[in-house]
Symmetry: C2
Subunit: 396 residues, 2 copies
């Protein structure tokens, strides 16, 4: 193989297989991202062996998750979030706390070391805004009260998840020193709080002045990218993951920046996110499921993950009435990218065995896969008939 072929070959195989499987999954009414992860497993070293994680894919995968979180941040409206106020925060807080301790507890009962238990719990904390929003918007359910609470809570949940990620990543970096953890947590929270409040306000004040004065074509996009890379770098220096900075950069810009920046970012995200998702699949080792013990653990984790989120979030939103509470509970079930990032971190730090990593990724895939049919069930009778028609035509 000529050296010059490495980049186009890697890109073709990964991108095309990701989109092919995403297309097949979408046809069957399932989220495309599950298909993209599956594509990674299929072309990866344990099944077809067409592709392994080379430098090109590693770099594009890291960039992909950075842009994914930036994109999620861009779509978050801090102002709409505030309207949903209390309920959303209670739902998110309950879901995160119960999931974390349920995951840790299940892991401890299984006899795992404490650090592994903490990582397992942390990996079960985050709800996927992306998947939730995608399902609700494709079914035209975004206008419902339950949908708004789900979205707002999912965002709070994401931020809590990112903080948990910051905490566990500092914990895993050596012997557990509580003062250091508290300090790291304080820096992480301070950084997040500072950027989320002061940063957003500053951007909102400064941007309109800058916008008119830049001569560059697409100057606003250039400024947004600079903020993205700058905050990602600062986040790393603050001891937390680059993606936390990327998310905060997105959130700071979300309400200020021109629609054009969203569009251009969308192009980058469309190109790069498949490399992140396929990268997850490429790291996924199916052979860990060979033993009955691991299979049983996988079953337990999946059950705990779904039951804890559903129970905690439904109970926390019970004052909305039982139907809406059930909708919120189901809407919070899908575990997304952030959980996989935690698991990946645990694996690369050597505190999480390959088997548990595989289970976490599998759990994320199963809960994501379960979301569309479950949401269809609890939302039946609501939503525009056109959405329903399309669904029938597409499946049939």
């Amino acid at each position: 193989m000529p050296v010059a072929a490495q980049i186009p070959l890697s890109m073709l195989v990964v991108f095309a297989s990701a989109k092919l499987l995403a297309e097949i999954f979408e046809r069957f009414g399932q989220p495309g991202i599950v298909g993209e992860i599956l594509a990674g497993i299929i072309i990866g070293p344990h099944v077809l062996g067409w592709m392994e994680l080379n430098d090109v894919l590693r770099i594009l995968s890291d960039l992909g998750v950075m842009f994914l979180l930036f994109h999620v941040g861009l779509e978050v409206r801090a102002s709409e979030l505030l309207k949903m106020g209390g309920t959303a925060v209670v739902v998110a807080g309950a879901g995160v706390a119960v999931s974390f301790f349920a995951g840790w507890g299940a892991s401890a009962l299984w006899g795992a070391p404490r650090i592994e238990g903490i990582f397992t719990g942390a990996a079960m904390v985050a709800t996927s805004v992306g998947i939730t929003a995608q399902v609700l918007s494709s079914r035209r359910l975004l206008h419902t009260r339950a949908a708004k609470v789900i979205l707002a809570a999912a965002v709070v949940d994401d931020i809590l998840g990112l903080l948990v990620l910051a905490l566990v990543s500092s914990m895993a970096r050596g012997p557990v020193r509580y003062l250091d953890i508290a300090l790291t947590a304080a820096i992480a929270i301070a950084f997040t709080w500072f950027v989320a409040t002061f940063g957003t306000r500053t951007v909102r004040k400064v941007m309109p002045h800058v916008q008119g004065r830049v001569s560059l074509a697409e100057g606003e996009f250039a400024l947004a990218m600079t903020l993205l890379f700058g905050l990602s770098l600062l986040a790393v220096y603050a001891g937390i993951a680059a993606i936390v900075g990327a998310f905060l950069a997105g959130m700071a810009l979300g309400e200020t920046v021109d629609r054009r920046v969203h569009e251009l970012t969308r192009g980058v995200t469309e190109l790069l996110v498949p490399f992140f998702l396929v990268g997850i699949g490429l790291r996924f080792d199916l052979s860990v499921f060979a033993t009955k013990t691991v299979l049983a653990l996988a079953g337990t984790i999946i059950l705990v993950a779904m039951a804890s989120k559903f129970a905690a979030c439904s109970l926390a939103s019970l004052k909305m009435g039982r139907p809406d509470a059930f909708r919120v509970g189901v809407g919070m079930i899908p575990h997304g990218e952030v959980g996989m990032v935690v698991a990946q971190l645990g694996l690369s730090l050597g505190v999480m065995p390959q088997s548990v990593y595989g289970i976490i990724v599998f759990m994320s895939m199963v809960t994501t896969l379960a979301a569309p049919p479950l949401l269809k069930l609890v939302f039946r009778g609501i939503g525009s008939p056109r959405g329903v028609d399309e669904e029938i035509v597409r499946v049939g």
Copy 2:
């Protein structure tokens, strides 16, 4: 420096410095791309030493040039090109032939080996569609007859330049065997011809059928990316550069694909092209200009590059009348990215010394820098007054 910082740090330093210098250049009415290359020189190992070409930058730079050529291909309208027919082809052909032999001749007179002379000539062949189009459109001159001939000729020129690139790259790959060269040329021309004609027609027929049947969000973009990576890979296997495939993929899609794909591609291009331009600067070694001999050679090359293009293209379009012929001649002066790619190839293959590489890049920069004022001169009195007003306001 933490390992996790490498990606955001490289991206921040390269992207921010590129855009800062582009902004400064734009303010002074100069093309931003010259500023971006200069940014690479300034942050590079020979001036400030902040950054060197690491793996992240090398991969992003390769992707950047791939997307740049894809983007140029997308903007080319094969149909409009045909309307300008004869004149454009004669102008482009004359410009390419005269530049090639003038460059080779100058190099030979200087006593360089034959292969170096051929690479020098080849690096002087291509006119930059990007720069030409950018200058003409920002001055609102795209509607003029001369502008249309320039654009059409620049496209033919680009294709001829890519063929020359294919030829010289195969020549440099070992002992020069004429049968092999003929075969390579035949494969390259056949591949280009096949994709440019049959490919475009196929895409035009197949795309509308596919467009309606894809379930995937942004499915058309996914198809475009797959064609881009696929043709880039095939081009490498056909013995020519990946960017030739990228350009052809763009051209095949240009007239068929939805505006949306252009927009999303623009996002990727905006992000990645600075890495290509800064990469050129990072490879640029100013110390080669230390001797008088090299300085004299640089002066000769720049003079030959500008004079040969201007004379050949003006003479070839003389039937349009002298004012328009002068406009066409000046419009074809800027030497762009493809010439730098040839020079880069020559450098990496070891057939072009660092000094000549530096001169070629310098020549591209000088001819690019000369374009806006020269175009202003020959186009004075034409163009919308608004364009002129803006210019005065921005420069003043």
